[in-house]
Symmetry: C2
Subunit: 343 residues, 2 copies
DNA sequence: TTGTATGCGTTATCAC
DNA sequence: GTGATAACGCATACAA
């Protein structure tokens, strides 16, 4: 039996048994030495040498099966091209690393099927937990989440009764910050370029826009609202449509990518920013600082949300019995050149 | 024995044995039904029902241990905030998906330790293969790569004798494209803002710049060269230093992030682009199109490199015996507003 | 079709 | 300190 083992073809990867046999000890001893626990000086020496000779590399899959943990965390986001997710990812990674977890990122491409597939694939214990930031949440999602054998933390608006750890942005507060700022600086016709309205953030920002207008005593005007998705190209096209039919004195955009597109359209049309039209974006990503002029933007605290999500995950990993928790992050406004003038 | 199994605490995740016991069949039959192979109508029904009742979810780790494959591919990049990597990632993902592999992304943060750790962690068979796009390659890397039990494909300049599948960009050809274009449009003092010169791309682009100047008959001037890293902020600072001491009529930047920074600095300094100073970036990312004016940029074929890398990986997965291969992707120049004027 | 038995590579338990 | 041996959860060769 053990002789048979040794006859395996030479190029088959070395296992503990290979090492043990070569060192002339039991696999138990070999395993112990390889893990740095116990062993007489002589045993240690021989096992080490044998391992080096055959280029032994432990099989993490086997180890995980036994340990019932992989030390891996997954983050699934819709669009990894959006800097806001990069920011969130960095924050999560930092927290995870401190607890000795490695972070894996997966881009779902806003494709609900992709997310479900991910849940049913990765979450089948390839990773110890997963953090999800979906653009949409359907019933399919929810039941898939419920079936997940590993803990799931959702970043985004979740139904109130959904039994998952949840970190939310304050869309309403954030939008209000932007509209108040624009109203305070004398803007009367504040347009809104939204992302896809059938997404969680899209829907939230739309209702928040109307509410904010009311709050500052401005009328809602249909022609001042335009819709694209959350990408640059669509945002720019939407801004073009808007400018072709209306003359806003300010534009609020549902994210920085859209804002960058609107800025491009404004400048290309010979409009001065902020003198003719003030511009405010959302998410406060690197993009806002990279544009010229720099774009004012409302941060929904992506990094903070990431940090919180990671914390929730880590604590749940330690204590799975915890009741579902919900955190909300406060928004902040950073005023830059694109809205720095008072009319 | 099998009775003992059934006494496990109720909240422990269901396994095949749970399902088999509940359905009153052997675990072999249960496994078969669960995998859709064979089984009498009655058996299938009972197993399916049992599985549904206990919410059975297969344990991918266990399955992988037995199958000796995970269906996962990993991509490790230095800076996921750089759009060029996003582009590469998308291309890889598309190829991988078609072959039923899921792609996981890991950001190493240009930290050589991080990359090594990744290799020694993930590559221990959590994934079936990994694609690496490192900024630097030291001997440590090379030996770590050699030890990897799973195939590795490197995107980037690898030593000629390194026995790994390798996809390269043509930095020299790309830089030449940019310099020739600028020279052709009448520019005489073409500055260069490089990224970190101790990285593979940084070093390659530097020597390519000098060679290209010679090729178009322009002198190399020390004061026209500035160095940062490959990020926006550093690029912008480098451009500021450059402009403080020299008067170039064109700036070539080692990537689009740097170019965006330089553009910002130029505009902030009241210089007109392209009339006063022409600007050309590299990588041809979305950023080049998002700036105003849009930035001319040399594409090093990130998507194509990604596609090729994925192809190499997939073919090697099918046939591990393949000899190491090397592919090189041709560069292309896209001229935009930032260099559209001939002096 | 079905069940028995074995192995995937590792660690943990428990005697010695 | 060391060595059998039993898990971890699943899939399959083989016999029935």
């Amino acid at each position: 039996m053990s002789r048979k083992r040794l006859q395996k073809s030479a190029d088959a990867p070395a296992t503990v048994r290979t090492v043990a046999a070569l060192a002339g000890v039991s696999i138990a001893s070999a395993s112990r030495v390889l893990n740095g626990i116990g062993g007489s000086t002589e045993t240690v020496r021989r096992v080490r040498e044998a391992a080096a000779r055959v280029g032994y590399v432990p099989n993490a899959i086997a180890r995980s099966l036994q340990a019932r943990r992989t030390g891996l965390l997954a983050l699934a986001v819709a669009d990894i091209g959006n800097p806001v997710y990069v920011e969130m990812m960095r924050a999560i990674e930092e927290v995870a690393k401190r607890a000795d977890y490695q972070l894996l990122v997966h881009a779902t491409g806003a494709d609900p099927e992709g997310e479900t597939a991910l849940l049913e694939g990765l979450a089948r214990r390839y990773v110890d937990g997963m953090i999800l930031s979906p653009l949409r949440i359907g019933d399919g999602h929810l039941t898939a989440l419920g079936r997940s054998p590993v803990p799931v933390t959702v970043v985004g608006q979740l139904p109130d009764d959904a039994p998952f750890d949840n970190v939310r942005a304050d869309s309403h507060g954030g939008v209000l910050l932007a509209i108040e700022h624009l109203a305070d600086t004398g803007r009367k016709r504040i347009a809104f370029v939204n992302g896809a309205p059938d997404t969680l953030p899209g829907a939230a920002r739309m209702t928040a826009y109307r509410a904010a207008l009311t709050a500052v005593g401005l009328p809602y005007e249909e022609e001042l609202v335009e819709i694209g998705d959350f990408q640059y190209a669509q945002g720019r096209a939407a801004a073009a449509r808007l400018l072709a039919r209306a003359r806003p004195d300010a534009i609020f955009c549902a994210n920085d990518l859209i804002a960058a597109g609107a800025l491009h359209e404004l400048l290309a049309g010979g409009l001065r920013v902020p003198q003719d039209v003030a511009l405010v974006g959302m998410d406060d990503t690197a993009l806002a600082e990279m544009s010229f002029p720099q774009i004012s933007s409302v941060s929904l605290g992506a990094a903070e949300r990431g940090r919180l999500a990671a914390d929730l995950m880590l604590s749940r990993l330690e204590n799975p019995q915890l009741a579902p928790r919900r955190e909300t992050v406060a928004p902040t406004l950073t005023v830059r050149a694109s809205s720095e003038v008072t009319l």
